[in-house]
């Protein structure tokens, strides 16, 4: 390939000649990025595995303890709750984001006035830092000053406040609602991009054949949208399953540790209490689930490439 050397006009420095080789150039181009990823992803991952097998704490080296940290977590009722919460949170938030995101995408796919500005403002929850918008939600859920309690109370729907964040079960549903609010635009906009690739002729044809709106969606739109949907769901599941900031701001894991996710509990144990080994083990409980999701995604991509 590089034998054709039109570059050797005049004097060419050895470095330039070396970079004409595809594999040398590729190596040089890949080094900076790969170096950062090895240093701050691969290396911490190995360290996490090692930490999780030791009793290391802040300022104390610790000893090898085998799987004791994992066993301890397994029998820890707070961790059991946190794991259940994480599954609950991921499951329901993903369902709502998909359903509402799809609906919003279908609405945005029509032509109407101010479409561009509506579409742009719909993405705001996704752009604005989650921590900051979660504070607005926390204020709206405030036990005493909640605007939602105000509206419901003064319209006569309730006679006493709703315990938005002061009851564990309510608080989990509130977290699902806020996560849905934040993630729905991501679903809507990516699904909208998918919708725009579907030819309107298909809908015309189906409509002429007498298919109802619901049938047109179910038999024409949905099958064509399935590949995009799958990828969006994978990304969202990973993000939601490993979420930290929303719960950290909204409930801090409370009341009485009833709303922890795996990540917030790992933070509490590993950082706030300084038990690095136990914290690392708790984080690693996320790994099998994340691994399974990524594996499914990779398999799917391989299959798509085959076509």
């Amino acid at each position: 390939m590089s034998a054709a050397a039109p570059t050797e006009r005049g004097r060419v420095s050895p470095l330039v000649r070396l970079l004409e080789s595809e594999s040398v150039l590729a190596t040089a181009l890949l080094v900076p990025g790969v170096l950062i990823l090895v240093l701050f992803i691969a290396y911490p991952f190995v360290m996490a595995l090692w930490y999780s097998l030791t009793s290391i704490r802040v300022g104390e080296a610790g000893q090898f303890v085998g799987l004791a940290n994992f066993a301890k977590a397994w029998n820890d009722t707070i961790f059991q709750t946190a794991f259940k919460n994480t599954v609950f949170y991921t499951f329901w938030a993903t369902i709502f984001k998909l359903a509402l995101g799809m609906w919003l995408a279908l609405l945005l796919n029509r032509s109407f006035r101010f479409k561009r500005i509506v579409r742009a403002s719909m993405l705001l929850p996704f752009i604005i830092p989650t921590v900051l918008s979660a504070f607005a939600w926390r204020w709206m859920f405030d036990p005493t000053f909640s605007v939602m309690n105000w509206v419901l109370y003064h319209s006569g729907v309730i006679t006493d406040r709703l315990p938005f964040l002061s009851d564990g079960d309510w608080a989990m549903w509130c977290a699902v609602a806020v996560n849905t609010w934040r993630g729905m635009p991501f679903f809507a906009i990516t699904l909208l991009a998918g919708l725009q690739t579907i030819s309107p002729d298909l809908h015309e044809a189906a409509a002429l054949d007498g298919a109802s709106a619901w049938h047109r969606f179910w038999h024409v739109t949905w099958p064509l949208l399935l590949p995009v949907t799958l990828v969006v769901v994978v990304f969202s599941v990973i993000q939601t399953f490993s979420d930290f900031q929303l719960i950290y701001v909204l409930t801090g894991g409370g009341p009485a540790n009833s709303t922890h996710l795996i990540a917030t509990y790992a933070y509490q144990v590993g950082v706030a209490s300084g038990l690095l080994g136990e914290g690392a083990a708790l984080s690693l409980f996320m790994f099998p689930v994340l691994f399974a999701v990524v594996w499914v995604q990779l398999r799917y991509m391989k299959r798509m490439e085959g076509h």
Binding site: L25, I36, F40, W181, F287, Q297
Partner: protein, 283 residues
């Protein structure tokens, strides 16, 4: 066209759309109203009568003043901006190089490396933060902006590489080949021909990376301990809640001011952002 009756259009389109708009934007509206409400009006319980619950007749800037006078908020804004810009630039450079290598060059293990980068793309920050905090401390980077400027690229580089690889593949090879016949080196053709053609893709990746850095929370929370080095999200969480007391007026003022820069950047580059967003999930 599929013909629609008027009442049906209201039922199927206008009403749901209005509900979506209110649901999406109300928290931001509430943030703004709270930030401008005087304290006396702010702390009225839900049972009390309130003539103007959804707006205020006495808007005040006292919360903004308090925020700017009693906290290092301007400094947090500057830190966030600096860290977001530097980590975006680092990630773009690494992503452009790696993306080009993976899209265009033949070398052993290229497919394998592409897969590895895709996997790192999906590693969440919360999986590794405990050992990473130790590594940062051992490298003497703790409590310096570099702790974040070097770790944010761990989630930005895979994304930039992935997006730009896809973009480079759409650029016809002939463009490069012409340049090489004219005597350009491989490296030169990449810099002078391919990168300029790919500017829309680079801009998309950059805008998206910028908003992700602005949004990052857990690394900033753990790696930065001095108040004046914090980013906006961490500063607001850790400095505006003293003990158990929430300064809601100042909190909402901080949330509002902290959102404006990223919202502005977004509003100027909506189309690029959307391309980045939809590209981020394409295989």
């Amino acid at each position: 066209m599929v013909i629609e009756r008027k009442w049906k259009k209201w039922l199927m389109f206008y009403i749901p759309m209005a509900v979506f708009i209110v649901f999406t934007l109300f928290p931001f509206y509430w943030m703004a109203v709270t930030a401008m409400r005087p304290d006396g009006e702010l702390y009225r319980t839900f049972r009390q009568a309130n003539a103007t619950p959804f707006w205020t007749l006495e808007p005040t800037l006292e919360h903004f003043k308090g925020l700017l006078q009693t906290t290092a908020f301007p400094q947090w804004l500057w830190n966030t901006m600096l860290i977001a810009v530097v980590s975006t630039i680092i990630s773009l450079i690494c992503g452009m190089f790696a993306g080009y290598a993976l899209a265009r060059l033949k070398f052993r293990g290229s497919e394998f490396l592409g897969t590895i980068i895709f996997i790192t793309y999906l590693v969440p920050q919360t999986l590794l933060f405990i050992p990473l905090a130790d590594i940062i401390r051992n490298m003497q980077l703790g409590n310096t902006p570099w702790a974040l400027m070097l770790t944010y690229p761990t989630f930005l580089i895979p994304f930039c590489t992935w997006l730009l690889m896809g973009y480079f593949k759409t650029i016809p090879r002939e463009l490069e080949e012409c340049a090489r016949i004219d005597g350009a080196t491989r490296f030169g053709a990449m810099i002078r021909i391919i990168f300029p053609v790919a500017i829309p893709g680079i801009l998309s990746a950059g805008i998206f990376a910028f908003t992700l850095s602005w949004n990052e929370f857990i690394y900033a929370l753990i790696f930065m301990s001095s108040a004046e080095l914090k980013t906006v999200p961490v500063g607001v969480v850790s400095e505006l809640i003293r003990g158990d007391i929430f300064f809601w007026g100042q909190l909402m003022a901080g949330a509002l001011l902290g959102s404006i820069p990223v919202a502005l950047v977004y509003s100027f580059f909506v189309e690029y952002y959307v391309t980045g967003l939809t590209g981020s999930v394409k295989g």
